[in-house]
Point group: C2
Chain length 367, copies 2
């Protein structure tokens, strides 16, 4: 999933080049490139599908040039993760049918999707998260794939919490001796008090937003919880993975509801399981999260991009356009970010206020 | 005088575009343009001569397009104010001779420079200072011109001090009832203790770096105190204000000493007078001076260039490249300056440390 706009990383992340396409950690690779690389050892590259906004088709191809253009699914409008996943599921149906049956699906053809030959396993992953220890990641994914290929159930990856983070969703597990545990509840971002209770209880893990399931399971669950949307996708199944797919998607996608897979499906479904991550993970959802994840100098400063000289300064994170340099003197615990001729300077602890300030600027200019 | 490089305004002022060519106060005019404008009411434009480095010839013509190229004298190398003034004096000799005598000076011609017809008055002024109240400036200049056309003496403009500034030179006056007073001593930048004594004594004024004198006076004083340099200029007098001037200057200018007019002439000369300025003046020699001189918002912030939104911020000065925007949040009493892909962030009170930090960066990179 690579269609988001990452507005919280303004001005570094913009609608023209959202977060997943940025080298946010200064590794020389964008988050999307690192995500694709993580999966190269797990599945053949030809089985990786990037769902993005039509605006970013060329950016995806530029950053991952060994993808075939047919592996990039383009959303014609911004929705949320449920329509994104429904589109990918429909595309996979069309492609798997053709590959397994040796012919494209006929218009209106009735297909038995419970046929084990057609029932492939699917991994869903955001393209803009940080995952350290790729070997552990690989092992968790392979355990999960083994599970979903033997169980008609949905599986999430849960990350044992290390702090009462209020920016994450939480998953409560049912008691179980198994490594992969049944899910009791999903909770959206809690307040700090609740987050503390969650972490101390030991029953909760962070919702990583990564899922595994078989084609048949997710298709059935989507049909059960979002039937109107799935009826639309069903009408175009014969167009999926053919040259007609794009035209069909342009027609129906904008009519899909703006709803997340968590809210639209996971929270309502039975038979949801969680596999615990033993790798370090961050959704890199804030400058603070990027700061935490980045290599720091002796004074705790992070220079994400650009050549930055820090003098008498501690705890800053600086992100400049390529080729820019900076001299930062006597500054402590700030975010300094620049892109597209826009500079932002803000204390790290006030990052959440930036959206409000931006909104007030916009409304002022409107007067 | 428009040849300096203003290194203290890094990164806004660079060798490519020094301070005098910048719209440092956000008025839409560069300091050079404002300086030329101040003199338009005092002398005909054709009598304004801009001495600059050869690098900036086109920049001067671009900013003051109604100057004739012959009014721009180009220094082939960086020296200080004494060679700059000596060059201008030689040029004026050549030009005045031609205009008064109706023919160019002959090679080796002996000229009686005490001839009143040749003895024009000269005003010397830096091009990168701020002067408020142009009408008062005009009156002071006219008083000074009247004085030097009747006295064979050098005249400086002194600014009554408003604070014990340690970045300025001071002029001590002899007691006098006259409006234009004899000078007792020149003192370079004093320490704070001495500056306090100077200001409290009432005998001292700031040295503005602006001078008035007649051609014959400054020629004689330069010859007396810097005889080697003046011997060189004398050899090319017949080339001055002719197409051969530039070639001659390219040959001798680099051999001139790197010395200021204050140190090389004024401090050693007798018969130096000072006329008191009743206009507000700043040499804009520091970001602090520019901050003091600039219009501020209600929270005391200055946005010199670029569109800056301040939020929960006070006492900052921000200077961005044209077309740039910034959101500055939770920042107090800083300089934020950017140019040529280089950003500088520094507390206003630590401006003087920037040069040291820059030097240490350079020496680090050399290793």
């Amino acid at each position: 999933m690579s269609g988001g706009i990452g507005s919280r990383f303004w001005p570094a992340s913009t609608a023209e080049r959202p977060k997943q396409f940025l080298d946010l950690l200064g590794t020389g690779k964008s988050l999307l490139q690192m995500t694709v690389d993580r999966f190269r050892n797990i599945v053949p590259l030809s089985n990786i599908i990037v769902v993005t906004n039509v605006l970013y088709r060329d950016l995806v191809l530029e950053q991952v040039p060994d993808l075939d253009p047919s592996q990039i699914l383009c959303e014609p409008s911004r929705r949320n993760t449920a329509p994104c996943i429904a589109y990918a599921v429909a595309h996979i149906q069309g492609r798997v049918f053709h590959q397994v049956m040796g012919r494209p699906m006929a218009e209106g053809e009735q297909v038995d999707w419970t046929d084990p030959k057609l029932n492939v396993s699917i991994i869903v992953a955001p393209s803009d998260h940080l995952i350290l220890q790729p070997e552990r990641f690989e092992r968790v994914i392979n355990e999960g794939l083994a599970f979903v290929s033997n169980h008609d159930a949905m599986l999430t990856i849960g990350v044992p919490p290390t702090r009462p983070e209020t920016n994450y969703g939480y998953i409560q597990m049912k008691p179980s001796e198994d490594k992969i545990k049944p899910v009791k509840t999903f909770t959206e971002k809690p307040n700090l008090e609740l987050a503390n209770v969650f972490v101390q209880s030991g029953e909760f893990v962070w919702n990583s937003g990564m899922f595994m399931w078989s084609l048949n399971t997710i298709k059935r669950e989507l049909e059960q919880h979002l039937p109107d949307m799935m009826t639309k996708f069903a009408l175009g199944l014969a167009q999926m993975a053919t040259p007609k797919e794009e035209e069909f998607i342009q027609e129906i996608f904008p009519t899909c509801p703006n709803i997340s897979i968590d809210y639209g499906v996971m929270e309502k479904a039975k038979d949801v399981y969680v596999v615990l991550a033993d790798f370090d993970w961050s959704d890199l959802g804030t400058w603070g999260a990027v700061y935490d994840a980045s290599a720091k100098d002796e004074e705790g400063n992070v220079a994400l991009a650009g050549e930055v000289t820090f003098s008498d300064s501690t705890g800053n994170i600086v992100c400049l356009p390529e080729g820019y340099t900076a001299l930062v003197r006597g500054l402590n615990h700030y975010i300094v970010a620049q892109a597209d001729h826009t500079l932002m300077i803000c204390p790290r602890r006030e990052e959440n206020d930036i959206e409000k300030v931006k909104a007030s600027v916009k409304s002022k200019n409107r007067i």
